[in-house]
C-alpha cells in the first residue's frame, strides 16, 4: 500500500481517522462491503465463525490507514486487500482443519429423526433435513481441500454473485485465474459429492 505524501492534491474528500465524519463514512462503506469481505475471509481462513473476527481486525487496520485510501477508487477492493492480508496471516498462524465449523445440529446426528434439532428446520421433514445436513457436511469437508484463493473465488462467484472482473480486482489476481479457480473448484466439488453420494441421496 503506497503512502501518499501530505499536501497531494486530490479531488473529493479524503478519509482521516481523526475526523468523526470520516469515521462514520468509513463505517457506512464498511457495512456495505461487509458481506463480500466476510466471504473473502471465510474462504481464506476456512472457518465461518472466525471470519468476522478477521474482518473486524482488518477494519481496525484500515481505520488506521484511512489517509492511504484514494477517493474515487474501489473501497471494497482496498478493504479486500487488507482482509486478504489479515486472513492469510491468520490462516498460516492457525494452520488447522478448514471448514471444521459444522452447524451445531450436525453434532447431534445420532438423535432419532423427529426428536433432534434436525426436525426443527423450518418447513423440512426430519428425513429431508437429514439429507440436507449430509450434503452440508460433505460439502464443507470437501471445501477443505480447496486452496484459500480458490475457495474465496468460488464463494464470491456463487454466494455474492460477483463477476470475474470484480473478483480479480478484489483478490488482485488475473481474471482468467479467477475463472479457472471457480471452474476447477466446481468440478472438484461435483466429483467429491457425487463420489460421496450425498448429492445423490439429496436428489431422491
Amino acid at each position: 500500500m503506497v503512502r501518499r505524501p501530505t499536501g497531494t492534491t486530490e479531488t473529493g474528500p479524503r478519509f482521516s481517522a481523526s475526523s468523526r465524519a470520516d469515521r462514520e463514512a468509513f463505517s457506512v462503506r464498511f457495512r456495505e462491503a461487509y458481506r463480500t469481505l466476510w466471504l473473502i475471509a471465510s474462504g481464506i481462513v476456512g472457518n465461518r465463525a472466525l471470519a468476522d473476527d478477521v474482518v473486524q481486525e482488518a477494519a481496525l487496520i484500515a481505520l488506521g490507514k484511512l489517509d492511504q485510501f484514494t477517493e474515487g477508487t474501489s473501497f471494497k477492493a482496498w478493504m479486500g486487500q487488507i482482509v486478504r492480508f489479515v486472513a492469510l496471516n491468520f490462516a498460516r498462524r492457525h494452520r488447522r482443519d478448514r471448514h471444521d465449523d459444522l452447524p451445531a445440529d450436525a453434532q447431534d446426528r445420532t438423535s432419532t429423526a423427529g426428536s433432534s434439532p434436525l426436525a426443527e428446520r423450518k418447513g423440512a421433514s426430519p428425513h429431508s433435513a437429514l439429507q440436507q445436513l449430509d450434503l452440508d457436511d460433505e460439502l464443507l469437508n470437501a471445501m477443505r481441500a480447496l486452496s484459500e484463493t480458490a475457495c474465496a473465488c468460488l464463494l464470491l462467484r456463487t454466494v455474492d454473485g460477483m463477476d470475474y472482473r470484480e473478483i480479480s480486482e478484489l483478490l488482485d489476481i488475473p481474471e482468467g485465474t479467477a475463472m479457472s479457480h471457480v471452474h476447477r473448484s466446481r468440478m472438484f466439488l461435483r466429483q467429491r459429492l457425487s463420489a460421496g453420494g450425498a448429492a445423490d441421496r439429496n436428489m431422491t
Binding site: F26, V28, E32, L39, Q56, L189
Partner: protein, 257 residues
C-alpha cells in the same frame, strides 16, 4: 464429464452463453443423463453454499483511537477495560431511558439523509398522506399484501395521531411510509422487509434521530426529534383472523398504488 462439457456448464451457470448456445445446452442436458446429473448436483451445491455462507450482521468497526493499534499488553488492557466500562454504562442508561421492547438502534448516516429527504418532502407538502386507513384489519392486511407480514398499531396514547400512508422508494421500491404526529409534531415511520435493510448504526443530525426496530420479518424506522421512539413500540404483528384475507383493499377511500 469431458472438459468441453465442464466448460460449457460453467458458462451456462455464469449466464455467459448467448441465446442459441443456451438453448442448445439445455437440449443437451435433457438428452444427456450424465450432463443432467452434473447440472443438478451443481445446483444443489450452489444452493448449499448460499445457505451455509450467510454473513452475520455487520458489527460497527472498532475505533482505533479507543483501542491501541500497537497493542502493548498493559495499554491494551486499560483501553479494553475503559471501553467495557463505557459500554456497560451505555447499556444501563439505555435500559433506563425508555420502556421495552429492546433492539432499537439508530440508523446510519446514509439512510438518515434518505429518510430525512422523504420526511422533509412530506412536511413541505403539508404532511398529508396518499392514503388514509385507520388501524384495524384493513391496516394490517395492507401491510401484509405489500410486505408479506401483518402489522398493526396498538391503542395510541394521548398525543399520538396516525395520519396515514405515503409511498417512497427508500430501502426498496416497496418501502411503506406511515405518517404520524406526536404532540402535534410530524413523526415519520418507514417500514419494509428486513431482508432489504441496509446495515445500521448510531447517528443523529440536527437533533433528529432515526430509531430502528425489527418486528419478525419487517424492519421499521422512526424519524423523530424526541429522545426515543414513540411509534415503534406501538407496532406489533397480529395474527390473520378469519375473513381478513377477503377484505378489499380498494373502496371509496383514495386507493393505494
Amino acid at each position: 464429464m469431458n472438459e468441453h462439457d465442464a466448460n460449457q456448464l460453467d458458462l451456462y451457470l455464469d449466464g455467459l452463453l448467448d441465446g442459441e448456445q443456451h438453448r442448445q445446452f439445455e437440449l443437451r442436458v435433457e438428452a444427456d443423463a450424465e450432463l443432467r446429473t452434473a447440472v443438478q448436483t451443481q445446483s444443489r451445491i450452489d444452493t448449499a453454499l448460499r445457505r451455509l455462507f450467510v454473513a452475520p450482521t455487520a458489527r460497527e468497526p472498532r475505533n482505533p483511537e479507543s483501542v491501541s493499534v500497537t497493542r502493548t499488553g498493559a495499554r491494551r488492557g486499560l483501553w479494553v477495560a475503559a471501553a467495557l466500562l463505557l459500554i456497560g454504562c451505555g447499556i444501563i442508561l439505555g435500559l433506563r431511558s425508555w420502556p421495552r421492547p429492546t433492539s432499537v438502534v439508530r440508523a446510519p448516516e446514509s439512510q438518515r439523509s434518505t429518510f430525512r429527504e422523504i420526511h422533509q418532502r412530506l412536511v413541505d407538502r403539508g404532511y398529508t398522506p396518499d392514503w388514509e386507513c385507520p388501524p384495524g384489519p384493513k391496516f394490517a392486511m395492507y401491510v401484509y399484501w405489500r410486505l408479506g407480514q401483518t402489522l398493526l398499531v396498538t391503542n395510541t396514547p394521548p398525543g399520538v395521531e396516525l395520519v396515514g400512508w405515503a409511498y417512497a422508494a427508500s430501502l426498496s421500491p416497496e418501502t411503506m411510509v406511515l405518517l404520524t404526529r406526536v404532540d402535534g409534531k410530524p413523526v415519520t415511520v418507514f417500514i419494509d422487509r428486513a431482508e432489504v435493510d441496509s446495515p445500521q448504526y448510531l447517528a443523529a443530525i440536527d437533533g433528529r434521530s432515526v430509531f430502528r426496530r425489527e418486528i419478525h420479518n419487517l424492519v421499521t424506522y422512526e424519524l423523530s426529534d424526541g429522545p426515543g421512539p414513540v411509534i415503534l413500540p406501538l407496532l406489533f404483528e397480529p395474527s390473520i383472523e378469519p375473513g381478513w384475507k377477503d377484505i378489499p383493499m380498494y373502496d371509496d377511500s383514495p386507493s393505494p398504488p
